[in-house]
């Protein structure tokens, strides 16, 4: 009876809806999104390092550009972490893949450091760790991988599956 009353009220005023969110699971996993996001972090750091400050007018441009590069760096470091988190949590099972936990944890920490600083070396380690994660992922599927330079700046060597 009470539930029925709440339903009627909900139909009128529309209570906010919260999700309990269980995974389906859909089975669609791909670390490439994390790899691209990590590359973007390095790219943003390179653009930040390349900015030159100057007179008042160009200082406004400098501040505008720097702010945007930082915002994109933040967004993509977190995106890379999130993509890895999903594959780590949903796909890898501790009992089957015991050596992935430490790597995933390392990626989380490097991703946070990339947000906290503009240190390129840290970002390169971030890319390397995600490449290693990608290798392990494709290995579980029996798909060989190769290393090639990304066809866009910062043109780092990346792990790609060979289908």
């Amino acid at each position: 009876m009470l539930h029925r009353l709440l339903e009627m009220v909900d139909n009128t005023i529309h209570f906010p809806e919260a999700q309990a969110h269980c995974d389906i699971p859909c089975g669609i996993y791909d670390p490439s999104a994390a790899q691209i996001a990590a590359l973007t972090v390095v790219r943003m750091m390179d653009l930040m390092a390349g900015l030159q400050s100057g007179d008042d007018k160009s200082r406004i441009e400098y501040n505008n550009s720097m702010s945007r590069y930082i915002a994109v760096k933040e967004e993509h470091a977190e995106k890379a972490k999130n993509e890895i988190r999903i594959i780590w949590g949903d796909y890898f099972k501790k009992e089957k893949h015991p050596n992935v936990d430490d790597l995933a944890q390392k990626i989380m920490q490097l991703g946070s450091k990339c947000r906290q600083s503009a240190d390129r070396e840290t970002a390169l380690e971030f890319v390397d760790a995600i490449n290693e994660f990608s290798s392990k992922f494709w290995e579980t599927k029996g798909i060989p991988t190769k290393k090639s330079k990304a066809p866009y700046a910062p043109a780092l060597e990346m792990v790609y599956p060979v289908f």
Binding site: L2, H3, N82, R85, G89
Partner: protein, 88 residues
């Protein structure tokens, strides 16, 4: 079986009124930048106040994917629920 199904209602005590009463095992509603409004159970409260949350099914989203939930993202604590009638 999940605790809640589509169509269930919950009554919450909104933050900050419940802020000092969080404990492990509490059901909370919080906002997540990626998943939106979620209902999960507190597994652990960190010294800085952030929350590690879990679901009660093996495939549930939990803080391994959601990350630690900042206290500021908590909307409130569930204090009552009104479940829809299940027809057999």
């Amino acid at each position: 079986m999940p605790d809640y199904q589509n169509g269930d209602f919950v009554l919450i005590l909104r933050s900050p009124f419940c802020i000092t009463r969080f404990k492990s095992g509490d059901l909370i509603i919080f906002s997540h930048p990626f998943y939106g409004l979620l209902i999960k159970r507190i597994h652990e409260i960190l010294p800085n106040g952030d929350l590690y949350v879990i679901g009660n099914l093996e495939n549930s989203l939990d803080s391994r994917k959601l990350g630690y939930i900042p206290n500021a993202n908590v909307i409130g604590k569930v204090i009552w629920s009104f479940k829809r009638k299940k027809y057999s």
